[in-house]
């Protein structure tokens, strides 16, 4: 829309170093605007774009931001990740997290040091694979010397379907690799009886403990994990992806605004090339017939006077 600028105004996007503003805007949505002193717009971009992005990450349980090319170890950037890259520094970890996946990152069968963490999962009867109840609590594991070597043993303290319970644990211990996608790290271990007595039926705790942000954020999931999370979260996971994509693309507009200024100007300019608006009182009035004018047949014409 062509516009006629009112008298010269200060253009805040030209007041500060434009390269610095550009770099800041690329790194963090809105930061370039805050640098330029455009506080309101900076806050709109910061909370709008970054908020949308982080909300998407939370909704997708952390399995949202990743670069997953078809070939393992390929350097190609997928379209999925390219859209997220726009959101700035929050998307960059995915560039190097995949490399950490390849370095000795395996399932832990034996702990090297004691572990204590919040646990959420279920009690399963391993022979039937059926649900024995929902577990919420804390697991504590340590290394114990046995006759044949060391073994990881521990205890679960918490609730089983809301009722307090304490379960001694040993055997079949398996903890997901330290580096992996998602904020949850899978854990399973067999339950034993008090004083290592055998139970009438074998039972396991199956669930997860929290995984640190450094070890999970930006890590590409494997196909099984992706299938599991999309199956469990369904549309929510798709929506989470859409949120991060849209946030990344919106930041392109913000970067543009930071460098070049708003696309349509300040917003109070008068549009040119349009007809000037006529005020109601200036409109031309149609002439009214005179009240005391004679009827049309009574008007004398040259021919009527002659007859």
């Amino acid at each position: 829309m062509p516009t006629a600028s009112p008298p010269e105004r200060n253009k805040p996007w030209e007041q500060r170093n434009v390269v610095v503003a550009f770099v800041l805007a690329v790194l963090v949505p809105g930061l370039g605007h805050l640098f330029q002193g455009r506080t309101l717009k900076g806050l709109i971009y910061l909370f709008g774009i970054l908020g949308l992005y982080l909300w998407g990450v939370k909704m997708g349980e952390g399995i949202v931001v990743y670069n997953l090319p078809e070939k393992v170890g390929a350097k190609r950037i997928t379209l999925h990740y390219a859209a997220q890259l726009g959101a700035g520094v929050v998307s960059y970890p995915a560039l190097w997290q995949n490399r950490r996946l390849l370095k000795g990152n395996e399932v832990v069968r034996k702990l090297e040091q004691p572990l204590s963490a919040k646990f959420s999962g279920e009690l399963r009867r391993s022979d039937r694979d059926s649900l024995g109840g929902k577990l919420e609590g804390v697991v504590q594991f340590k290394l114990e010397k046995m006759e044949y070597g060391t073994e990881t043993t521990g205890v679960f303290t918490g609730t089983l379907d809301g009722k307090p319970v304490k379960l001694p644990l040993a055997g079949n211990f398996a903890l997901d690799p330290p580096v992996g996608a998602g904020f949850k790290r899978g854990l399973r271990c067999s339950v034993i009886g008090e004083n290592d007595e055998p139970l009438p039926e074998s039972r396991m705790i199956v669930g997860s403990i929290p995984r640190s942000l450094l070890d999970s954020y930006g890590v590409a999931p494997d196909q099984n994990q992706l299938q599991e999370v999309t199956g469990r979260l369904g549309k929510i996971h798709e929506l989470a992806l859409v949120f991060t994509w849209i946030a990344g693309l919106l930041n392109v507009l913000a970067i543009w605004d930071c460098v070049q200024g708003p696309a349509y100007g300040f917003g109070d300019e008068v549009a040119t090339g349009t007809k000037p608006e006529i005020k109601p009182e200036e409109k031309l009035e149609t002439p009214k017939p005179l009240a005391d004018a004679p009827p049309a047949d009574k008007i004398l014409t040259p021919t009527s006077t002659l007859g």
Binding site: K41, Y45, G48, G51, L52, V242, L250, L253, G265, F266
Partner: protein
């Protein structure tokens, strides 16, 4: 308003998530078009209503086409 729509989104149908999404899109888009706060807000509200109106229209058409299916 944003908080309300987020709360609604978390407790109800997945379609409610579109409200905060449309809100952010219209606000950020309008902010990238104009500089003056009043104009940004005015334009953002109008754009938000347009987006929601359009989606409601599409929803109504789809609902009508799939009626008793």
């Amino acid at each position: 308003m944003l908080f309300l729509s987020i709360t609604l989104a978390q407790t109800a149908n997945v379609s409610w998530y579109l409200l905060p999404l449309a809100m952010v899109v219209s606000l950020v888009y309008s902010a990238s078009r104009f500089e003056l706060p009043d104009r940004i807000l005015q334009r953002a509200i109008w754009l938000f209503l347009q987006i929601i109106g359009f989606m409601a229209m599409v929803f109504a058409v789809l609902w009508f086409l799939s009626y008793k299916m």
